[in-house]
């Protein structure tokens, strides 16, 4: 790594992720949520009428639906008062829809992404990058060779204008309707920013595309929407990263992700989430997978005060497959409630779910997952594996899997283990000259390795470093 990347080795989270920039905005909506706010946002974006109507319908859904409160062991959401957040902040940049040169960004925004290492990663390992600051994408670029092949990677607001037909067909209609849950409805009402990815037939995008989401202002909500359409036989890997500085008031992140995996297509969706520990992270992510298609969800949840995230795959076509790999790390005051949902709706579908969680200093991790095998999904198989590592007695780790099997010619296996770090393992490493902290860090790195090895090397390194940051000085 070059010397101008030295700051990335910074082990202080504040310098690394939680630094604050002055809060500046070209346009900020009023706090709270009502029909007027939504009209104002829609107008500021110059949206077509149908999108405004969808937003207003979603708002009605949101107002109608109760808060989820009766899930066993779920995070406490009583602090989440939507009327206290600023739902929409357009950053003060000249070009709407994102510039394609980092140098065209205002210094403070450019500096933010420099510190996060995004431009550097773009040079080395990515096909394209989108960067969202507050509610809007400020930077968007993709290598020309992909553009020539018809690959589209643009911010979602721009896609509404430029690819209206596709967006109108797929946007919160077939995959994640606003009625899915209260926060999906909220998202549908005030979404802003996010990415639109379209990969034409038989096109393989061989380096990942990445979007990075940054919240800078206190008390704001970020509601980006990501729509990925991968046509027959295509392949793409999408990575999202998230972070925010820490404030005393709560921030809300409620993203929506919809993925359409065409016949024999392959989509990998990777998330490394490092929201500040005052952020509520309540997302809805779902993929519909056609015949022979393959969906992979890889999630690392390190940050946030509370996360509720259960990426879902609907295996709709014969031979479709799903792979979930999730890792959750909950420290003091964090409740990371994650899992997976898979619906096997066709014969010969396969899913594998691998979940690893680490809790320490009173943190709480929950695995909550549902595997449903529909009648007629013959010769389907699923395997679920959950492992939890607990550091101390103040922490909690729950595993709550649900399996619904309506077909007999299936192979279903679920396994889970919970344990503490083995004293013998620590002793062995110490006898080899490592100190206690290093030994434990090494064991944790080994524990999460099945996840990190699925990520491009830059992100694997990043994830490992995040875990090190979390572990720093906290081990006794």
């Amino acid at each position: 790594m070059s010397s101008d990347q030295d700051h990335l080795k910074e082990t202080d989270t504040e310098a690394r992720f939680e630094f604050k920039k002055e809060q500046k905005a070209a346009f900020a909506a009023e706090k709270g949520l009502n029909e007027e706010t939504i009209r104002v946002i829609s107008e500021d974006k110059d949206e077509p009428e149908w999108m405004l109507e969808r937003r207003l319908r979603a708002l009605k859904q949101f107002q109608k639906m109760p808060m989820p409160t009766d899930w066993p062991g779920q995070p406490d959401l009583s602090e989440v008062d939507v009327d206290e957040i600023v739902p929409y902040i357009r950053p003060d940049v000249e070009v709407r829809g994102g510039v394609d040169d980092w140098r065209d960004l205002p210094d403070d925004i450019k500096d933010t992404f420099d510190k996060l290492g995004i431009p550097e990663a773009e040079k080395n390992a990515l096909s394209g990058v989108g960067a969202q600051y507050e509610s809007e994408v400020v930077y968007q670029n993709m290598q020309e060779r992909w553009e020539e092949k018809g690959v589209v990677f643009m911010n979602m607001d721009q896609a509404v204008q430029e690819h209206e037909d596709i967006v109108k067909e797929y946007f919160m209609t077939k995959c994640v309707p606003p009625s899915d849950n209260k926060f999906a409805a909220l998202h549908g009402a005030i979404w802003s920013g996010g990415s639109f990815v379209y990969v034409p037939e038989d096109t393989t995008v061989d380096m990942p595309v990445q979007a990075y989401f940054r919240m800078n202002s206190e008390g704001m909500g970020q509601f980006e929407h990501t729509l990925i359409v991968a046509e027959k036989g295509s392949e793409v890997h999408y990575i999202e990263g998230c972070s925010a500085p820490k404030y005393s008031a709560f921030n809300l992140h409620s993203g929506g992700v919809e993925v359409f995996v065409g016949e024999d297509a392959h989509v990998q969706y990777s998330t490394v989430q490092n929201w500040s520990k005052n952020t509520y992270n309540l997302n809805t992510k779902r993929a519909i997978v056609e015949k022979g298609g393959r969906m992979e969800w890889i999630s690392g949840s390190m940050g946030s005060k509370a996360t509720m995230l259960y990426p879902a795959s609907i295996l709709k076509g014969r031979g479709a497959s799903d792979n979930h790999i999730t890792i959750a790390f909950a420290g003091e005051g964090q409740n990371i409630d994650t899992g997976a949902k898979v619906y096997h709706n066709a014969p010969e579908t396969k899913s594998t779910i691998e979940s690893k969680s680490i809790s320490k200093d009173g943190g709480r991790t929950n695995y909550r997952g549902l595997v449903h095998i529909a009648n007629g999904a013959k010769n389907s198989s699923t395997s679920v594996e959950c492992d939890a590592l607990m550091f101390d007695n103040e922490s909690t780790s729950d595993t709550m899997p649900y399996m619904e099997i309506n077909e007999s010619t299936v192979d279903v296996a679920h396994e889970a283990t919970v344990g503490k770090i083995g004293d013998e393992d620590v002793f062995y490493l110490q006898s080899r000259g490592l100190d206690d902290d290093d030994a434990k860090q090494m064991i944790v790195s080994g524990f999460i390795e099945p996840i990190t090895e699925e990520l491009p090397i830059e992100y694997a390194v990043e994830l490992n470093r995040l875990v090190e940051l979390e572990m720093e000085g906290s081990l006794g």
Binding site: G73, L370, H372, N375, A388, M390, F391, D392, N393, S395, T396, S397, D398, T399, M400, P401, Y402, M403, E404, I405, N406, E407, S408, T409, V410, D411, V412, A413, H414, E415, A416, T417, V418, G419, K420
Partner: protein, 402 residues
């Protein structure tokens, strides 16, 4: 309130039941308190996922099913000499104080609507008392249900360093085409260093709806092992639970079920680790044929003070037909990091290679399949200590296969 209070149910009904049995005042009061609580109580918790309610108890018509004043059963009890095994009512004459101390102490009678209903109306059941250092084997309680509804309450109290193995079997007596309701509460208070194996075999006719809650409280060094066999009933809801309250206490919850036709079997195994060095092992094996449906929930809850816990859970379901359905949710709730816990659940069919091997040894396919299903239950059968229970269960499984 969640279920309609049957019209024929009032404090007067409860008094009538209690008076007819010449019960002590404390028991009448406990019954009346349970009756009064009905208004506030909900039906037992049932798992609900988007678009799917795992068991639908709301559909039961308690108005018709519950006939409190016409309960009838025929129960035989066999026991070795040095242990007390008495019909619940008879036991009140001599052991009223002991029963008062433990009645409702293990099962909270107001756990839900169905437990309170059971406590208010029970007319049968057994009291088992094992004095200090007595080892009793093969206590056998066999009951026949002969009325539209039957409510049973069984209490087992074991003193220090005693041991007992029990079989409780329930089946339908007289033939009847009407829908029936059987409710069974079982409480075990296992004293220090005592051992209880409680086997239960439910084979009621398939017009009967069954609710059963069995719960044990294990003192220091005590062991409570449950064997739960469910073959009968149209709908079974069975909860088997152990609280490991004493240091180094242990429990096994072993279950077997075999559903066919349109039977619905909802079995639940739960354990709470509340003290140091406790051990739990939950094993359930189930087979489903025709349009039968099973629901399984297992919970291993490790409390903050349960240092050095070992907790294991396995659930395996074998599906013999396309129309059968199986839902399973094995849960781990871990609040102490000094824990070794695991759980595993599988759903599948008879292994094709095993079947092929047996057919290649000239065993007809149907017979080979039956042998493999019988073999599937072996881990449960092996745990059973009352020989008669093992024989009965094996016989019922074989009968269902042929």
């Amino acid at each position: 309130m969640s279920a309609q209070l049957p019209a024929n149910l009032s404090a007067e009904t409860v008094r009538e039941i209690s008076d007819a049995r010449d019960e002590p005042e404390w028991l009448l009061e406990a019954r009346l308190a349970a009756l009064e609580a009905l208004d506030e109580l909900e039906l037992p918790d049932v798992i609900q996922t988007p678009g799917r309610r795992w068991t639908n108890l709301e559909a039961l018509d308690f108005e018709t099913l519950v006939d409190p004043l016409n309960q009838s059963d025929e129960t035989s009890r066999e026991a070795p000499e040095d242990v007390v095994v008495l019909p619940f009512t008879e036991a009140l004459d001599e052991y009223s104080d002991l029963i008062e101390e433990h009645f409702g102490s293990v099962v909270d009678l107001e756990t839900n609507y169905l437990t309170a209903l059971s406590a208010a109306l029970f007319t049968t059941g057994t009291f088992v008392y094992v004095p200090e250092e007595v080892n009793a084997e093969d206590v056998k309680i066999r009951a026949e249900m002969n009325s539209r509804s039957l409510f049973s309450h069984t209490l087992v109290v074991t003193e220090k360093s005693s041991s007992v193995t029990i079989l409780e079997a329930i089946e339908s007596g007289d033939k009847s085409d009407e829908e029936r309701y059987f409710s069974n509460l079982v409480e075990i208070a296992a004293g220090e260093n005592s051992y209880v194996q409680y086997g239960s075999l439910q084979n009621l006719d398939e017009e009967t709806y069954t609710y059963s809650l069995k719960r044990g409280d294990a003192d220091t060094y005590a062991t409570i092992n449950w064997i739960e066999g469910n073959l009968g009933s149209r709908l079974t809801r069975s909860d088997v639970e152990t609280e490991l309250n004493g240091e180094a206490s242990e429990t096994k919850i072993v279950g077997a079920f075999f559903g066919h036709d349109d039977q619905h079997i909802d079995v639940n195994a739960r354990v709470w680790h509340q003290a140091e060095n406790t051990t739990a092992d939950l094993v359930t094996r189930g087979v489903l044929d025709d349009a039968a449906r099973s629901v399984y929930e297992g919970v291993q809850d490790v409390g903050r003070d349960a240092w050095s816990t070992n907790s294991y859970q396995r659930e395996n379901t074998l599906m013999l037909s396309d129309e059968s359905e199986a839902d399973a949710s094995p849960k781990l709730i871990i609040n102490n990091h000094d824990t070794e816990a695991s759980h595993a659940a599988t759903v599948g069919q008879v292994d094709k290679e095993d079947l092929f091997y047996m057919v290649s040894r000239s065993i007809p396919e149907q017979q080979a399949r039956n042998m493999l299903v019988e073999g599937f239950f072996v881990p449960v059968l092996e745990e059973i200590e009352v020989d008669e229970f093992r024989d009965d269960l094996e016989e019922l499984i074989a009968a269902r296969l042929h």
